[in-house]
Amino acid sequence: MKLEKLMKERNADLINAWFTSLIETYPANTSAFLKNQKDPFANPVGNAFRQGFKVIIDQIVEGIDHQSAVSALDPIVRIRAVQGFLPSQAVSFVFSIKKIIRQIFSKEIRENHLEDELTTIEMRIDELSLIAFNIYMECREKVFQLKANEVRDRTFKALRRAGLVCDLEQVESDLTEHN
């Protein structure tokens, strides 16, 4: 397929454009840091994004292998799930690759009538976005489960072992109150 071949050839451009569009969802001052700091330990966020995108682009081009798609999307979504974004914002980056593909290959698509191929590609992206949403939910559930575990550890275990915790107002009960 023509578009797939094109995408393979300009793989690096796609990754860069996608990466740029993702980090632009962060404040301007931060995005330069995410973009330029190459040390994976000083800039784990930017690094995780870049690593993941490589695999995802391959997936879009070659067809989706569910397992690899999950493992590539997971590190990205996992980070965005705890950065205080709305769910839509957290996974919106998957959709932005559609726009990028249309922009980068607009001429080729028009001239070679690759709309059908584009549809195939976009369907794969849709599939990825659904996977991303699954991961997002999983992460959020994990966060809540972690919260719940901590509460359980602090109360039930204490009750089990001693049952006699000094009864100042329970911090944990506030959890639901504030929601």
Binding site: S21, E24, T25, Y26, P27, A28, N29, T30, S31, F33, L34, Q37, D39, P40, F41, A42, N43, P44, V45, A48, R78, I79, V82, Q83, G84, F85, L86, S88, Q89, S92, C139, K142, V143, F144, L146, K147, N149, E150, V151, D153, R154, K157, A158, R161, A162, L164, V165, C166, D167, L168, E169, V171, E172, D174, L175, H178
Partner: protein, 542 residues
């Protein structure tokens, strides 16, 4: 983001790059998952701290006292007069930006106000306006701004997004320590009754019952008894610890978190096993205390005064029990307090002896004034002198890396002792990348009283740089155990690992010591302290 965005605002937010305004004109948006709940007025009252009241950070009205600005200014003035650090750090920052990308919260959240320099500037701008001539004359041009309610809220939001880990201070050419500025800011909050509950309630508990968790003495005893049974069940030896024993050689104080929550409990059991061994073998008499049953000190996250009030119990109890000196367990901020504050605040402790290990005869000269020794120093010394009978193969199932706690590495320099102990009790040890350990160690993301449940998002994203380095050694060397010497670490790193690097557990080093230690008269060891079969014993479960 707040959850009540309108659809068009939502779209605007997905559009690349929000409009840019200078930080002075960008009020903080208090985001869910990123802040801790306000203090419970009951807790504030127990310590008789000012302005106890119920309030909610998400509401417009924080129910501040009418003269809150005066309180802030007077509070600032007093602290400027009392702390050269504060005064100096307000004046000499050149905003070179060396610290900017060193903060785990900035790296994780990407929020520019989490750059240490900007975090400090939030406060400095107000200082300039009201305490410097240049700020009064030139205003914004000199970086000065008016104290408003928005500014106060911004302070509150961001100074409770600093774990006082001091990583920025290492890289600052003038040693400006954001922790010091955060401490001052939090003192000011306390004058206004703006503490968070995750700090306020533990200090109230600690003040009254001796520990953050509010464990009363009899319950504390019950828990120790529970450990005794547990240890007997797992390794077949019944240990007999002392509690509140007068005339013991050494008073042992460790964070109560280890007495309470896994996996800290295994570390606590580790201490019990070690002390049992030392008593059997060398007759060393160590006692625990219920009155001083907390090594940690959340007062440190409140104010210097509160820190002192809570810390006073250590010396008081050592004096009452008539011990020779004090041994401290594995903890981070506890050791920052002991190492850098205790002697000054509540010392000199002339009623104690200069610490000497009764077993090896080693004089702990570095602790001769404060008279409190870190258990990693103590155990490392024992191992060096061959006083412990160790079988490291019992830890062969572990591939270990070591997380330096912020406070012990950057407030003390305790780097080699724990590594020495680990390398002697287990065979597989790998370091994380060098810019994430020792004095450059990354915070767990939940220090300084920010290990609450409601700010889980913040904790996770703040802990990401640390987890990322763990992930690297996990994938490269198969590391499955993250050792640490801090109770907060033991409480929060399992959660962080669970989210970021499943498959890595967390341990204190004395849990590993106890597992490796050959006890006199022990039956064949088949399980470790966690009740898991020892390597090679997986089949022989009876």
């Amino acid at each position: 983001m707040t959850d009540d965005l309108k659809p068009h605002e939502l779209i605007a937010n997905i559009q690349p790059r929000p409009p840019q305004t200078g930080w002075m004109n960008t009020p903080a948006v208090i985001r869910k998952g990123m802040f801790c709940y306000a203090s419970n007025p009951k807790s504030v009252e127990i310590l008789k701290l000012p302005n106890a009241r119920g309030w909610n950070p998400l509401e417009e009205d924080w129910k501040l006292p009418k003269n809150w600005k005066e309180i802030v200014f007077e509070g600032l003035r007093q602290r400027l007069d009392r702390f050269r650090t504060f005064k100096l750090f307000m004046d000499i920052c050149v905003r070179c930006g060396a610290c900017a990308d060193k903060c785990h919260f900035f790296i994780g959240t990407g929020d520019p106000k989490n750059m240490p320099v900007l975090r400090a500037e939030l406060l400095r701008s107000v200082y300039r306006k009201d305490f410097t001539a240049a700020g009064k004359i030139f205003g914004t041009l000199a970086g000065a701004r008016e104290l408003t309610l928005d500014v106060l809220k911004e302070w509150w939001y961001y100074f409770f997004q600093c774990t006082e880990c001091r990583r920025c201070s290492v890289f600052c050419p003038y040693g400006i320590d954001t922790a010091e500025i955060t401490i001052m800011a939090r003192e000011i909050f306390n004058l206004l009754g703006l503490n968070i509950d995750w700090i306020a309630t533990p200090i109230a508990n600690c003040y009254r019952t001796g520990n953050h968790l509010g464990i009363q003495p009899h319950a504390f005893k019950d828990m120790i008894d529970f450990f005794i049974d547990d240890i007997e069940e797992k390794i077949g030896i019944r240990v007999e610890p002392n509690i509140n024993k007068k005339g013991a050689d050494i008073l042992f104080i460790t964070p109560s978190g280890d007495v309470f929550a896994d996996p800290g409990t295994y570390t606590a059991m580790g201490y019990l096993v070690l002390f049992h061994y030392l008593k059997e073998k060398y007759g060393l008499d160590v006692t625990w205390s219920t009155y001083a049953s907390e090594g940690g000190n959340f007062g440190f996250f409140t104010s210097h005064e509160t820190m002192k009030r809570l810390n006073a119990k250590m010396y008081a109890e050592a004096k009452r029990l008539g011990v020779k000196w004090i041994l401290g367990g594995e903890c981070g901020h506890m050791w920052r307090v002991i190492h850098q504050y205790m002697g000054t605040m509540n010392g000199p402790a002339d009623f104690l002896e200069e610490p000497v290990s009764p077993i090896t005869g080693t004089k702990f000269d570095n602790a001769k004034s404060t008279k409190m020794v870190h258990i990693a120093e103590f155990t490392a010394d024992l191992i060096k002198h061959g006083k412990l009978d160790l079988d490291p193969s019992r830890n062969d199932n572990l591939i270990v890396t070591f997380h330096d706690s912020c406070n012990t590495s950057r407030g003390m320099g305790l780097l080699e002792e724990p590594r020495y102990v680990i390398k002697n009790v287990c065979k597989n040890f790998y370091e994380m990348p060098s810019n994430t350990i020792r004095e450059q160690t990354f915070c767990c993301g939940s220090g300084s009283g920010l290990n609450a449940g409601e700010n889980m998002d913040l904790r996770m994203i703040g802990g990401f740089p640390r987890a990322n380095a763990v992930k690297y050694v996990h994938e490269k060397h198969g590391v499955n155990m993250l050792a640490c010497i801090c109770a907060i670490d033991r409480a929060v790193l399992p959660v962080s690992m669970d989210y970021w690097v499943p498959g890595v557990n967390v341990t204190g080093i004395h849990e590993m010591v106890a597992n490796a230690l050959n006890l006199p008269g022990q039956p064949k060891r088949t399980k470790n302290l966690r009740g898991e079969p020892l390597p090679g014993m997986e089949g022989d479960d009876e």
